[in-house]
């Protein structure tokens, strides 16, 4: 396996903030955006908020975000070396924090 490096620019903060943090993440062939986000949470910034549940089986569908402006799942999108990848919350939903949006059905909220 060859190790490569991804550069991720991630939208951070709550609804009324707008800032981006950039992270450099080492990865092995075939690693996903979700792998990188979990790596960042353990090794760089545990406060990074993301939604995920099934971890790469792509059945919970919770990790849907915007990747370079395209709506996709973090768990099935492969990392790319070189150019910066921009990660933003799912458009059209209220932002709660970082990449977490209010995707709960209205009847499932308190």
């Amino acid at each position: 396996m060859t190790q490569q490096t991804a550069r991720l620019r991630i939208r951070r903060g709550t609804a009324d903030e707008l800032r981006y943090d950039e992270f450099t993440v080492p990865f092995d062939d075939g690693a996903s955006v979700l792998d990188a986000l979990l790596w960042i949470r353990t090794r760089r910034d545990p406060s990074l908020a993301i939604r995920y549940s099934c971890i790469s089986a792509n059945v919970c569908k919770e990790c849907v975000i915007a990747i370079d402006g395209v709506v996709d799942y973090a768990c099935t999108t492969r990392l790319r070396a070189g150019a910066v990848m921009t990660l933003e919350p799912l458009p059209g939903k209220p932002v709660l924090r970082d990449l977490v949006t209010e995707t709960r059905p209205p009847r499932e909220r308190l």
Partner: protein, 557 residues
């Protein structure tokens, strides 16, 4: 502060929790609160199930629940709680047929009967499924549709129950963290059902979803319930290892073996299962505990594949047969660069299921009045090694029972809520949610915990390794009050990590202490220093927690 009142609080909304909610409302409960720390019906293990659901339907050939029961006991290596195993096997057909009425879409034979395949450990074809690798998502979606139709069921997503509240020794409600707002919530409940699934997330290699870190075991221990059989963690033998696969569950090779056989080969391309007494000439028949043992031994002997597992090959299967059996899945594999006709994949054991869990009776009641459990969170039915296909019926059958019996209890026990209750748990959430300085946070320790459990408490164990694990678990538990928590209440991931770590450490300690005490090898519990099964150990161990937090292991009463 939010305060909720309900007849029945269900913690965890996978298959067991959702079925419990349906059954509780059918039994007359008019207020059922179904809470999940993830999204209702999307987290947990049910949605991950790939294929097999065992039930003695007799669609393919004559079958009877007693035959399923005999197979379950044989797989359990002499340790099953026979009363629970009997309930599981006897009621599985009714639940599976009810799911069919709810249009889950079980795969059908040409004559319209439900298709059933043979799985390892079963004496006949008994496992139904939904194509293609869609059993779990179909079961979860069907139950989500059912609960959405029932007005009595209130669903709440992103609500993490942190403590079950007891009064005079009985469960009377809970304290929870509203993850979105970062605020505490109190819940008054006449009865509480724990349906949080298992704990396999505490092992580095696992097939778990994020919320399977053992929460329910920790909640039950702290509330005064017993756990049973905690040393028995099923390591699924052929979890995917390489090449890297995304968008698919790592246990997906099991259905391939059900339908197409497949051959397990060592690093030199030689079949090895026969060396361990398992002859697969008649198909996929090797039980999970034996396959895990055989793969471990091959790798230890230097005959593993490049990434430290063994090969699984379907090269002998014709492309047309592959496509007929797995249609769209073959395309998904191609997107991952895998062509089964041309290449084998690498597989290795992976933590998959916890046989042990909360000790319950046939009515799913724990020893704490008002506290029930269902699904993987319970222990006993599967003994030392779960039979393939028994997990989903366990979720459905035990879920139905827990809902029904908890509703009967809740109808006659209305303890009420006193605002002094849960004060300590509330104060803890408030204090942590304000943020805290510290050198490290819980995320780092959760990562270390998974490495530690895999290395020292994994498929093969020794007294020395288990001792090292206990020492470090103790240090981590002592460090909990000092861990850093970031400021900001809304969706605070570090706060969620703290509660995850607190629960996982208790669950991990329960597994490790039980594993150290059992000085023999049996089923999924393999001790390198006690390699043989000992008839004197044909009994279950209970784990409990003293009021000072000390975890104790004792033999079954």
């Amino acid at each position: 502060m939010t305060h909720l009142e309900t007849d029945i609080l269900i913690v965890g909304a996978g298959g067991a929790g959702m079925y419990a909610a349906i059954a509780a409302s059918r039994a007359g409960a008019t207020r059922v609160l179904l809470a999940d720390k993830s999204l209702v019906g999307r987290g947990g293990a049910t949605v991950m199930a790939q294929m097999t659901v065992a039930a003695a339907l007799g669609e393919e050939c004559p079958d009877d629940w007693t035959a399923h029961f005999d197979d379950t006991l044989a797989s359990g290596r002499g340790l099953c709680d026979e009363a629970l195993a009997a309930v599981l096997c006897q009621e599985a057909p009714a639940r599976i047929r009810e799911m069919a009425e709810w249009r889950v879409g079980w795969a059908r034979r040409a004559d319209g009967r439900i298709a059933q395949v043979a799985a390892p450990g079963h004496s006949r074809p008994r496992c139904c499924y939904v194509d293609f690798l869609n059993t779990g998502p179909a079961v979860a979606a069907t139950l989500r549709r059912q609960i959405a139709r029932i007005d009595a069921i209130r669903r709440v997503s992103n609500l993490t129950v942190t403590d079950i509240v007891t009064d005079c020794g009985a469960a009377v409600g809970a304290v929870a963290l509203d993850g979105a707002a970062g605020e505490p919530v109190t819940i008054a409940a006449n009865a509480v059902i724990v349906a949080t699934g298992g704990l396999t997330r505490i092992f580095r290699r696992n097939s778990a979803s994020a919320n399977m870190g053992g929460d329910g075991y920790a909640l039950a221990l702290a509330a005064g319930a017993d756990l049973v059989d905690m040393e028995f963690v099923q390591f699924f033998p052929i979890g995917h290892l390489a090449p890297r696969l995304v968008g698919m569950d790592p246990i997906m090779w099991d259905p391939f073996r059900y339908k197409l056989g497949g051959r397990l080969l060592d690093g030199n391309g030689r079949e090895f299962l026969a060396d361990y007494g398992s002859d697969e000439t008649s198909g996929y028949t090797t039980p999970r505990d034996i396959a895990t043992y055989a793969i471990h031994k091959e790798v230890a002997a230097g005959r593993g594949s490049p990434h430290g597992g063994v090969y699984l090959s379907f090269a002998h299967v014709k492309r047309a047969a592959l496509e007929a059996a797995f249609g769209p899945v073959i395309e998904r594999l191609a997107r991952n660069g895998i062509d089964l006709v041309r290449m084998p994949v690498e597989v290795a054991p992976i933590a998959h299921y916890q046989m042990g869990g909360i000790a319950v009776d046939e009515g799913m009641a724990s020893r704490v009045p008002g506290l029930y459990a269902a699904g993987e969170a319970t222990g006993g039915a599967n003994g030392a090694n779960r039979l393939s296909g028994n997990a989903i019926p366990e979720a459905l059958v035990f879920g139905e029972r827990a809902g029904r019996f908890a509703a009967a209890y809740a109808a006659t026990h209305r303890p009420g809520w006193d605002r002094r209750l849960g004060a300590e748990a509330l104060a803890r959430i408030r204090s942590l949610a304000d943020g805290r300085q510290g050198d490290i946070g819980a995320a780092v320790l959760l990562d270390e915990l998974r490495e530690l459990m895999w290395r020292e408490v994994g498929p093969f164990r020794t007294a020395a390794g288990l001792g090292r694990a206990l020492f470090r678990l103790g240090e981590m538990r002592a460090a909990l009050p000092e861990l850093a928590i970031a400021p900001g209440r809304v969706c605070n991931a570090t706060l969620a990590d703290w509660f995850d770590l607190r629960a996982s450490l208790l669950a991990a300690e329960a597994v490790t202490r039980a594993a150290l005490a059992r000085t023999e090898s049996r089923g999924a519990h393999q001790r390198e220093d006690f390699p043989d099964s000992d008839p004197a150990w044909a009994s279950r161990q209970h784990v409990s927690m003293r009021s000072d937090g000390m975890i104790l292991v004792g033999s079954s009463p």
